[in-house]
């Protein structure tokens, strides 16, 4: 899911990468300037990154209810599904890395044998939170996802092994699976939680990757932007690229689309503005009011509309 196709790689190398390097990002919008306006947080509050980046509720009343009224809503089916499918992908990628280290390059046949064993994630404890139909659809899609990713990793490993006869485990892992999944980040410099977790991060060219299982939304780019700012604040190197991976299951088939984007001045300003507005709403306890166009699967639907 996180590996680019040949066309995407070409797009990245010929278009996004040179553009992102040429583009002058205003220094005040670089994460390492977190200690001065506009990045310096105005309020002494810590928000989760998703609380800033998500704008599914048009007035952000979901955030107000959670943070001020202390309402704990149960995640809806789409949220739960997203969470579990994310976990499947993490499990597959981490298992592959573990097996390479465990068996070593010399025993790669054993690795291939073991890696090909179908991956099963146990979702049983979530069964009660989903309808029977939702549960079986989730199990089916999880299997498709795991199989797809497993075969892709095997292909990548074999491709590297035929080219590099003297390669050792560590190098093989970094070439075949060049992503860090669930990268933990401390966002406190920017007024964010100190326990942030980015879906994936590629280190050859710093790029934040975020996986989505729902409809594309404009504000999804705020997630990659937020993580980029945090990484810049922590490591003091520029992070100019983001990539949203949209996965969809149709008739038993997985389709993947990627939105590679430059984390430009505009996205950075949008993120900071969202952060400041939401922090102010919480700090001043301003109820933003009920939206006019609520979606009926919103976990806070009952709290707002009874």
């Amino acid at each position: 899911m996180y590996f680019l196709t040949d066309e995407e790689r070409k797009q990245l190398l010929k278009s996004y990468l040179p553009k992102s390097r040429q583009m002058d990002i205003a220094d005040e919008l670089r994460g390492w300037n977190w200690n001065q306006p506009p990045l310096e947080p105005v309020y002494d509050i810590k928000l989760a990154l998703y609380e800033i980046a998500n704008s599914y509720c048009p007035t952000n009343r979901d955030l107000f209810l959670r943070r001020i009224d202390g309402v704990k809503a149960r995640p809806n089916a789409a949220m739960l599904r997203g969470k579990l499918l994310h976990q499947v992908l993490v499990d597959v990628l981490v298992r592959a890395k573990k097996l390479i280290y465990l068996h070593g390059v010399g025993n790669y046949q054993e690795f291939l044998q073991e890696h090909k064993i179908p991956f099963k994630t146990n979702f049983e404890r979530y069964r009660s939170q989903l309808s029977e139909e939702e549960f079986s659809s989730l199990a089916r899609d999880a299997e498709i996802l795991a199989n797809f990713e497993t075969s892709r990793i095997v292909a990548r490993i074999q491709e590297i092994l035929i080219k590099q006869p003297y390669i050792a485990e560590d190098s093989l892992v970094s070439l075949a699976i060049p992503v860090v999944v669930e990268q933990k980040l401390d966002g406190s410099f920017l007024g964010l939680s100190q326990n942030l977790s980015a879906d994936a991060f590629t280190f050859s060219e710093p790029m934040i990757i975020d996986l989505k299982f729902g409809e594309p939304k404009k504000f999804h780019r705020l997630t990659t932007t937020g993580y980029a700012l945090v990484m810049e604040a922590i490591h003091e190197f520029p992070v100019n690229l983001g990539c949203l991976v949209y996965a969809e299951f149709k008739n038993g088939r997985l389709s993947v689309k990627k939105d590679i984007h430059i984390i430009d001045d505009e996205l950075r300003q949008w993120f900071i503005e969202e952060r400041d507005e939401k922090m102010r709403m919480i700090y001043e306890e301003i109820d933003p009011g009920i939206a006019q166009n609520c979606y009926d699967t919103c976990p806070y639907y009952r709290n707002c509309l009874g």
């Binding site: 040429q22 583009m23 002058d24 205003a26 506009p38 430009d264 505009e266 996205l267 300003q269």
Partner: protein, 191 residues
């Protein structure tokens, strides 16, 4: 639609309260020496620019057009652009700035606004513009990206909202900007 000027975009990004003091609660502002000095430098630069080649803009040839008044009904925006270059069928807006700090965000979006007006004027897309920093004698190329265009439209909307709702925006976080501000005396909650 409320008609706005390109300088409003620049001012809003510098501090949204300037919009309030310009349109909602107009007050007399003081012309600073810096502003006068800027005008004089502009005139001198106009004179010199006419004789220069296009090398510093990385263009082989072209034609300079000065102080073009631009207006777009669609955007509800108008302004007078310092200069623009017409070269091989492409159009490049140029804004002269007297600053020692290099291009800033408010200058960038002023240029993007002019680029959008230029697009409407010539009915052709504009890919790049230049911020000419006078003390450095350097033109900085600025790419006119789709996101930058959207950003300018959002800013125009926000400016109109301030005017329509007659609500004073929050004070600026950049306290340094208040020191030189011509409206400083009217901002009661800014120390």
């Amino acid at each position: 639609m409320i008609k706005l000027r390109v300088t409003d975009v620049k001012q809003y990004i510098y501090c949204p309260r300037i919009i309030y003091f310009t349109y909602v609660c107009p007050v007399e502002k003081k012309i600073t020496r810096k502003m006068e000095y800027g005008k004089e430098e502009h005139l001198e630069l106009d004179r010199l620019e006419k004789r220069r080649t296009f090398k510093r803009y990385s263009l082989s040839e072209g034609e300079r057009r000065f102080h073009q008044y631009l207006r777009s009904e669609r955007l509800g925006l108008e302004g007078k652009l310092d200069m623009h270059i017409v070269s091989e069928g492409e159009y490049f807006p140029v804004e002269f700035k007297h600053t020692r700090k290099g291009p800033s965000l408010n200058h960038k979006y002023q240029l993007v606004s002019y680029a959008m007006l230029l697009e409407d004027y010539y009915n052709k897309p504009v890919r790049y513009g230049f911020l000419y920093i006078i003390p450095e004698k350097t033109p900085y190329p600025i790419q006119i990206t789709p996101n930058a265009r959207i950003f300018v439209k959002d800013v125009l909307e926000k400016i109109r909202e301030i005017i329509l709702k007659e609500r004073i925006p929050r004070p600026n976080q950049h306290k340094g900007r208040c020191t030189d501000c011509e409206y400083r005396n009217y901002c009661g909650d800014v120390s």
